[in-house]
Structure formats: structure tokens, C-alpha cells
């Protein structure tokens, strides 16, 4: 009789780690070999996100970043709620449909407000 090895169940997990680790090395390697190169000062910054990376951290930057971050959180959290509902769509039935519709309707009100207020326009 085969002895029970509690680690057997973790083999797929080990594979995932292996693949993920392999990817982490393989993708940059392939990219550096195959990718087109256009080197300029902005491209070579660590984070290419609109702010100067090196220098004083105490500079003012546009409040628009906060608005975008805030809106991202709102609709990100929405997705977190929508996924479990989508997975259990049949089990939750009409009850789930009604509650999620109310939830989505509330968010649509928020979206309409945000849109009309011009928070989605970067240049104004």
C-alpha cells in the first residue's frame, strides 16, 4: 500500500510557482532580445507616469490624479462585488439579480454624476 504523502496535493501549486518563476525570467529576457529599442530620457525613467522620479517628494501635483485613483477604487470594488455574483448567478436567482441591479443602478447614478461634472475629462 502506498504511503500517504500530504504533499502530493501541492504538486499543481509547485508547478504554478515553477511556471510563474520561469515566466518572470523568460519574459524580460525575450523582450530584451526581440523588442524594438527607442532610448530617450523619458523612456528610461523608472516609472513613466507623469511625475519626475528623482527630486523632492514635496512638490504639488495635479488633483486630477486623486480623482482618477478614487474613481478607479470605486469601479474596482464594483468588479470585486460583481464577480462572485456572476459565478453564482444561477444559484442566487432573481434575488441576486434584483440586488445586483440596485447596486449597479446606484453606481450608474455615481457615474452619471461624475461624467456630467467633468471628472472624466483630463484636459479641461
Amino acid at each position: 500500500m502506498e504511503t500517504y504523502n500530504p504533499l502530493t496535493g501541492y504538486l499543481p501549486l509547485a508547478l504554478v510557482f515553477l511556471v510563474a518563476g520561469g515566466m518572470a525570467f523568460a519574459i524580460p529576457l525575450i523582450a530584451s532580445m526581440l523588442g524594438p529599442k527607442s532610448v530617450n530620457p523619458i523612456k528610461s525613467e523608472t516609472f513613466e507616469c507623469g511625475n519626475v522620479t528623482i527630486g523632492s517628494a514635496r512638490q504639488r501635483f495635479a488633483v486630477k490624479f486623486y480623482v482618477v485613483a478614487l474613481l478607479f477604487i470605486v469601479f474596482d470594488v464594483e468588479a470585486v462585488f460583481l464577480y462572485p455574483w456572476a459565478v453564482n448567478f444561477k444559484a442566487l436567482g432573481w434575488f441576486g439579480y434584483t440586488t445586483m441591479s440596485l447596486f449597479a443602478a446606484t453606481l450608474i447614478v455615481a457615474l452619471a454624476y461624475v461624467w456630467k461634472k467633468g471628472a472624466l475629462e483630463w484636459e479641461s
Binding site: 436567482g93 446606484t106 447614478v109
Partner: protein
């Protein structure tokens, strides 16, 4: 599949009405306003706010006569406590919206978002009062907190609102995290987040099993609530935030947030205490009550700034409510062992005290109502007196502003005098009746020492409350003192609040009788 009946949703109707009203105000701001930066086209928004609050209050009042029961699979309860607090919150937010109308118009800052945030905060308060599960409770606490953070920093002129907003946000977030940590420990000890389930597990578990986990959890949860109700030593943010926030918002915070947080606190600790023996909450809340009553009143004594004085007074009044809360966990005089030994099991609160404790509940709820009406009135007069031009100077709320008010604005002076007498606990006002009920409940529960401290501190408090009255009626206004504008909305709100303060003081009978009936029903 979860199954619900329409009856399950009755307790959340008031909150739903408030939320729908708030969304309507948001949309009106986005789609109906033709002139972007003028208050003139926004007169209807305050009316929508008041109508929404009145509608929600009516539904909550109707709910209060329902049979108490657990709804939504144990996530919420429909009982007189939650309904009563929702009525208090609806009255508070209605009056605060009325006060804001004049206040914001004077500053040309009237916006639908302001009223919407007030209504969202009220919805959070209403839901907080009926939460019977920790995640629901935390989310609703955050709903009301986030709305009040934004309201605090709403007027962006000068540094004061920013300071107030930041202090409130950072300390509020911190206290929220403490509460959540405590809830997590309690979940770890019991394996459920529902209060009724926690109580069951704690009762069934052999003593000492996970006691330390539960004790730590309870202390952390109590600390989180103590921040919200501004109990000493967790009151540091109160004067700065109350001073920096727009005055109608301060009124809403000190009346509504406090009432809702106290009901949630009581619900949590009454449910959990029996499983452990009530010694922990008794010592915890007894200590908090003692510190809060003494320190709150002492710190209010030297304040010449009336708004700061009222902020410290709000701290002191949290102490009197905490005295009532302590009485709930007091070792009952004349019976053997702890008073909680005579608890009767009930599905409502996990386990609730027998009818002997009905008087204490009645006292606390009446006190919360009385304090809400009074604090709205006193901050209302303050808001009416404020002038935009004075905001940058530090003297806006100085006592001197009240000098000679009895001559220039007799109506406001009478309203302020009634509120000051009520805060000081002097008859014939609601504050006197509230204090009488709370102190009597404390004495009946055997807390003679704490009750004496309460009486002594409220005697000392009379000094700083009556000083305002003396300034209004016995001093003459300084030469060339500015005359504040009048708005009919402010006058209506002040009239309602003053009428409440005096009528509930002279004729508390109907309310107390109803509270007695309701609490007996709930504790059955």
C-alpha cells in the same frame, strides 16, 4: 439560496429613503443647475433634504411599533432602539439641513453635494443603529464617517477646515482600524461575525478557553467606539474638528453620530458581555464615564470660544451617556452576584437584560434624544451668528459675540438660553429630564459614586453654560458690532429645536411612556 420577505427590508427603508434622496440631490446638482456658482438656483435642494428626512423619520416612527425581530438572516435587527435612533437621526439631519440652507447661502456655497453627504451620513447612522453583525456594522460606520470627513472639510477657506478634516480623517480611520481589529479577534475566538452567534458561542464555551482573545477584542472594539463618541481619553480630535467643521455639520456630528454610535456600542456589548461576565465592560465603561465626565467638564470651564466650549460639552455629555451604559453592566444592588446573572435569553440582542434594565435603556435613549435636540439648537444659534467676514479671525465664536444678543435678536437669545439651560441640566428643559433619568438609573443600579460625580460635574458645568446666558442678557453689545443676516430656514430650525427642548422638558410623559412600552417589548 437566501430567502427574504418584504418584511425583512422594513428596517432599512428609512436608510434607503435617505440614500435615494441623496442621489436625487446629486443628480440635481449635475443636471438641473444652470448657474454653476450661484446659490440662487439651489433653493429647492434644502427642501428636498428636509422632505427626505421627514419621510424617513415617519417610516422609522412607524417601524418602532413593529414587533422586535431579527431580520436579513441575522445581519440586522428591527427593534425600538434602532427605530428610535433613526427617528432621532432623521430629526437631527432635517434640522441640520435647514440650518445649512441659511449658513451656506450666506457663504455662497450652497451645493447639492453638501445636502447629499448629510443624507448619506444619516443613512449610515440609521443602518449603524440596526446592525447586528460586525462587517455590516463596520461598513455602516465607515459610510457615516466618510460622509462626515468630507463635510468637515467642505468649506475650504483658510487652514482650519483642512486641519479639521485631516485630523478627523486620520483619527477616524485609526479608530475604525482598531474596531476592525477587535472584531477580527472576536471572530477568531468565536468563528462568526454575527452578534447573536458570538453570544451563543461565548455562552457555550468553557471559561478561560479563548478568554484573552475575547478580552482584547472587546477592549479594541470599545476603543474604536470611544473615539467615535469622543470619550476621554480618546477625545483629542473633538475640539479641533468641531471648531473647524461648518457649524451645521458640527451639530449633525455631535447629535447624530453620537446617538448612532452609542446604540451600536450598547448592542455589541450587551450581546457579548453575558458570555464573559460583565466585569470587563463594567470596569471599561465605568472608567471611561468617570474620566469623560470629569475631564470634559473641566476642559470646557476656561473656554471663551463658545464653539470649543460646546465641543468639550459634547465630550462631557458622552460621559453622562456612558454613565448610563455602565449602569447596564453594574453589579445589581440587593441581588446576589452580578446583575447580568438575571439575564433572560432573547434572540434579539443575543442576550438582553431582564426588564429591570428597561429603565436604564429608557434613560439612555431619552438622554440621546434630549441631547440631540439641544445641541442642534445651540450650534444653530452659533451658526446663525457667524459671519463669513469673521472666519479668518479667531474671534468668530468668542463670548463677546453673544453680548447684548437679548436686545438685538431676542428670539435667538431665548433659543440659546433654553439650550444652555438644557445642557446644564436645569429645569424646565429636556436636559434636566435626561440627567434625572440617567442619574436615577445609575443610583438604582448601585453606582452611587459615579452618580455623585455626575451631579457634581454638571453643577460645575452650569458655570460655563450660564456664562453665555449672562453675556446675552446682562451685557451690552460692543460698539459697531456686526449684525448677522437672517434666513427663514435658520429661524424655523431654531424654533423647532427650542420647542423640543422646552416641551420635552415640561411634558416628557408621552415620550417616556412610549419608551417604557417599547423597551419592555424589546426586553420581553
Amino acid at each position: 439560496m437566501p430567502s427574504f420577505s418584504i418584511q425583512d427590508f422594513m428596517p432599512i427603508f428609512p436608510a434607503a429613503i435617505l440614500a435615494v434622496g441623496a442621489m436625487a440631490l446629486l443628480l440635481s446638482e449635475a443636471f438641473l443647475v444652470s448657474v454653476p456658482h450661484a446659490s440662487a438656483s439651489r433653493g429647492y435642494q434644502a427642501v428636498i433634504g428636509v422632505i427626505t428626512a421627514a419621510f424617513a423619520g415617519t417610516v422609522a416612527f412607524h417601524n418602532a411599533f413593529e414587533d422586535p425581530r431579527v431580520v436579513l438572516q441575522g445581519f440586522a435587527v428591527l427593534d425600538p432602539f434602532s427605530s428610535f435612533v433613526t427617528v432621532v437621526v432623521a430629526v437631527t439631519v432635517g434640522l441640520a439641513v435647514l440650518l445649512s440652507a441659511g449658513f451656506l447661502k450666506h457663504r455662497n456655497a450652497e451645493r447639492g453635494e453638501f445636502y447629499a453627504l448629510m443624507l448619506f451620513a444619516a443613512a449610515g447612522m440609521s443602518l449603524l443603529a440596526l446592525s447586528a453583525e460586525f462587517i455590516t456594522l463596520f461598513v455602516n460606520l465607515e459610510v457615516l464617517s466618510v460622509a462626515t470627513y468630507a463635510l468637515t472639510a467642505y468649506l475650504r477657506r483658510g487652514t482650519r477646515p483642512a486641519e479639521a478634516g485631516f485630523k478627523y480623517f486620520i483619527l477616524g480611520a485609526f479608530s475604525g482600524a482598531l474596531l476592525l481589529y477587535g472584531a477580527a479577534l472576536l471572530y477568531g475566538a468565536t468563528g462568526t461575525t454575527k452578534l447573536a452567534g458570538m453570544a451563543e458561542v461565548l455562552r457555550a464555551a468553557s471559561s478561560g478557553d479563548k478568554a484573552w482573545l475575547v478580552y482584547c477584542g472587546m477592549v479594541l472594539v470599545a476603543t474604536g467606539f470611544a473615539f467615535k463618541v469622543a470619550a476621554v481619553p480618546f477625545h483629542m480630535w473633538t475640539p479641533d474638528v468641531y471648531e473647524g467643521a461648518p457649524t451645521p455639520v458640527t451639530a449633525l456630528m455631535s447629535a447624530g453620530v453620537k446617538a448612532a454610535a452609542f446604540v451600536a456600542l450598547i448592542r455589541v456589548f450587551v450581546a457579548l458581555a453575558p458570555g464573559l461576565g460583565p466585569q470587563v465592560p463594567f470596569v471599561l465603561f465605568g472608567g471611561l464615564a468617570l474620566l469623560t465626565m470629569v475631564a470634559g467638564n473641566l476642559m470646557a470651564l476656561p473656554q471663551r470660544n463658545v464653539k470649543r466650549m460646546l465641543a468639550y460639552s459634547s465630550v462631557a455629555h458622552a460621559g453622562y451617556v456612558l454613565l448610563g451604559v455602565t449602569a447596564l453592566f453594574a453589579p445589581a444592588a440587593g441581588t446576589e452576584g452580578h446583575g447580568m446573572g438575571v439575564l433572560s435569553a432573547s434572540p434579539l440582542l443575543g442576550q438582553v437584560p431582564a426588564s429591570a434594565h428597561a429603565d436604564i435603556y429608557k434613560a439612555i435613549l431619552f438622554y440621546l434624544l434630549g441631547y440631540a435636540v439641544t445641541t442642534i439648537g445651540s450650534f444653530g444659534v452659533l451658526a446663525a451668528l457667524e459671519r463669513r467676514e469673521d472666519e479668518t479671525r479667531g474671534t468668530t465664536w468668542d463670548l463677546d459675540r453673544f453680548a447684548g444678543l437679548a436686545h438685538s435678536k431676542p428670539g435667538w437669545a431665548i433659543a440659546m438660553a433654553a439650550c444652555m439651560l438644557s445642557l446644564g441640566g436645569i429645569p424646565p428643559t429636556v436636559g434636566f429630564m435626561g440627567k434625572l433619568l440617567v442619574f436615577r438609573a445609575a443610583v438604582d443600579a448601585g453606582l452611587l459614586g459615579l452618580a455623585i460625580v455626575g451631579v457634581l460635574t454638571s453643577a460645575a458645568a452650569a458655570y460655563y453654560y450660564l456664562r453665555v446666558v449672562v453675556y446675552m442678557f446682562m451685557r451690552n453689545a460692543a460698539e459697531g458690532a456686526a449684525v448677522p443676516e437672517r434666513h427663514w430656514q435658520t429661524d424655523v430650525a431654531l424654533a423647532v429645536a427650542t420647542a423640543g427642548v422646552i416641551l420635552l422638558g415640561i411634558l416628557p410623559g408621552p415620550v417616556t411612556a412610549w419608551l417604557t412600552q417599547a423597551t419592555m417589548l424589546a426586553l420581553r
